[in-house]
Homo-oligomer: 264 residues x 2
Amino acid sequence: MAEWTLYEGDCIEVMKGLPEGSVDSVVTSPPYAMQRAKLYGGVPEAEYPAWTVAWMEQVRRILKPHGSVLINIREHIRNGEMSDYVHRTRLALREAGWIECDELIWMKPDAPPVGHPKRPRRSWERILWFAKDQQPYCDPKANGRFSDRIGVSLAGEGFKKWLAGASDLRSGIARCRDWVAVSPSQTDSRGHPAAYPRDLAAWMIRLITPPGGTVLDPFSGSGTTLLAAIQEGFSCIGIEKEPEYCEVIRKRMAELQPALPLAK
Amino acid sequence: MAEWTLYEGDCIEVMKGLPEGSVDSVVTSPPYAMQRAKLYGGVPEAEYPAWTVAWMEQVRRILKPHGSVLINIREHIRNGEMSDYVHRTRLALREAGWIECDELIWMKPDAPPVGHPKRPRRSWERILWFAKDQQPYCDPKANGRFSDRIGVSLAGEGFKKWLAGASDLRSGIARCRDWVAVSPSQTDSRGHPAAYPRDLAAWMIRLITPPGGTVLDPFSGSGTTLLAAIQEGFSCIGIEKEPEYCEVIRKRMAELQPALPLAK
DNA sequence: ATGAGGAATGAATCCCCAC
DNA sequence: GGTGGGGATTCATTCCTCA
């Protein structure tokens, strides 16, 4: 039976109290350095690699041997130059013994046109994929029966051709691609400034979590990961530092299906 | 008048002989470490960052001050782990004084279902973007598409500029996104094992090359960059080490438009 | 109901101007 | 001069109002 638990507190401290090997996968979107620091606290760029290694060190303990971690992030641009903290963080995680499996891409077909007007619109984000060993659990067919383009209106020539060329949609279930298109406008942010869409979370969860498994999100925010996990039939452990967002999560989960066993 | 030149030889040696500031942009797809070493020589992963810094050092001399470089590449996966040489190469180029502007993505909607069957199909590649300064030439509207939303909300300054007839307002062209979808099946490889499609090259060239400017491709391969540049009205300098591929390029360019002035 | 049209806004980024 | 706050810019989408 799919169950969920929410812990209020700093994720490193909370994870220290969780039992070894209790989690099948981690799906999360940590703070993007100082991008929204005033709203929910941020991590300085210089400290970002070490900070990530620190919370991932706790993840290592509670993650099962073939479990893996998907991290949604993208560096910002300042004065025309891309920040390098994500590069440095990836190398630091490798240095710390994590296996970098691959990088997946979240495409945002209708991302807001904000940003530098003399540059292309920033319309994708990274999904970093790290594991404890080189053969983590992964079921690329779990997403194979879904369209690569979730929640996107199928208007425009390019999109039609795209679908027409998708031979894998005809021959039964095929492997998913290493990118997924999800409209950010589907995001139900509930006041959280940095939420991601439910369908993106569901895609990530299905990819690396065995049936009936337990997902962890150490930076739960408005709780999208928990919501998607339960809806997809997985269990989920959420951790969130801000009491205000914890309240949002409890409310959102209660709305979802009041008949389910609630928080413990 | 758009012209093209092809040099046969090692790109570092050839570039040493090219005049300073003679090139507006660089668009290329260098060898991917040892991926196809047997076919056209490869660069060991350990040496890849230094090797890239070395050829980019020559690029620096011949590139104009506001010129920039687009590099198509993606690391391979071996034994379930992604190679780290691209991460290290990016940091090495930054260390060498290059400004990393951003990363663009080439999406391949119908990439062949090769690769590990227990992993998502690899269907995108990176386009690294490096420049000499923080404000390289970039025209995101060159690849843009019509939008009827441009300049809809004209408040304050914008309204005044619109009254004054500012041409960049209400132009009807929305800027391009930072990814581009091009089918790899459009590739005309002419026997070259690592060619990229013409439309991808054209997109990259238009983004960072001023009208009538000159593009350089130090790893010309089957000549797709040269072909796309000429077709789009730019001049182009190609460099290719293998005589066999130089012959392919000459033939392809001759097919394109025999009336144009040919190789010198 | 239905549709046309305006307002608000979205993990942005830059420029300008106080301190 | 470095730093930090405020305003302008940008366009797809949703939501709301009103004919």
